[in-house]
Amino acid sequence: MIGWVVAAAVAAGLACGAAGLVPAGVVVHLDALTTVALGVLLFGIGIEIGQSRDAWRVLHRAGPRILLIPAGIAAGSIAGGIAAGWLVGVPLRHAGAVGAGLGWYSLSGVMLARLVDLETGALAFLSNVMRELLAILITPAVARYFGRAAAAAPGGATTMDVTLGVVARAAGPDAALVAFLSGAVLSGLVPILVTLLARP
């Protein structure tokens, strides 16, 4: 059910935007609207997680081992980026840096445009936009077939905000708490990993 809701919402937004149905006066405020909508969404998710005693028990029992999840997500994404670079002919170091964007398209795109070149920046921007869209679409299936812990994996750094709602709906409040923490850790890692991989 949630998969259809997210697919329909993104498709409707894309179609309205591309068809020019979003008034110019609204377009300039889309950033601010995103912030407000995210605030409302995160407030609701916060209530759900706060009410879930299971979520806190999971976190308490797991302790520092919970960091294995963001570590695995980052390592897997960089490895996937290197594999993609090998396939399409992008220098492997730069391809790893694109993978280290972890869905944070605005930051990784700007950083790689400065650290490497404009084309790599554009590739990072676009591939991380696609990662976010893909995450929105496949997270329910990932939670179902790969386990609820893996629900945090597709979104990468974005499970701290945009994709957290999808994780919460697909895998429950305890998985959402883990995903939020994972997203926060990964958001801190993106600028470090992108810089380390992009610089010679």
């Binding site: 809701v5 979003v22 998710i45 706060g50 993609a84 992008v90 790969f146």
Partner: protein, 89 residues
Amino acid sequence: MWLVLAPFLAGLLLGWRGELSGAHTRAARGLVTGGVALVLFILGARLGTDPALLRHLRVLGGEAAVFALLTVSGSVLAVWLLRGQVERA
């Protein structure tokens, strides 16, 4: 950062105190479902109204799709391989 964290922490505190009625809890659920749809609609609209993105899409779209697919697959596979450690935790 705080624009994201503050409402989340406020919701956590409110939920943790356990003083919300059933109606409020149902309202929070509606907030999440409606919020997901709204955030994603705006995300789509932002992408659809970005001419630079649409231009890049034509030039680099295929390569970017390969990157998106393999980075997501790598992350899912890594967490799945670590599932023994994660579940033990």
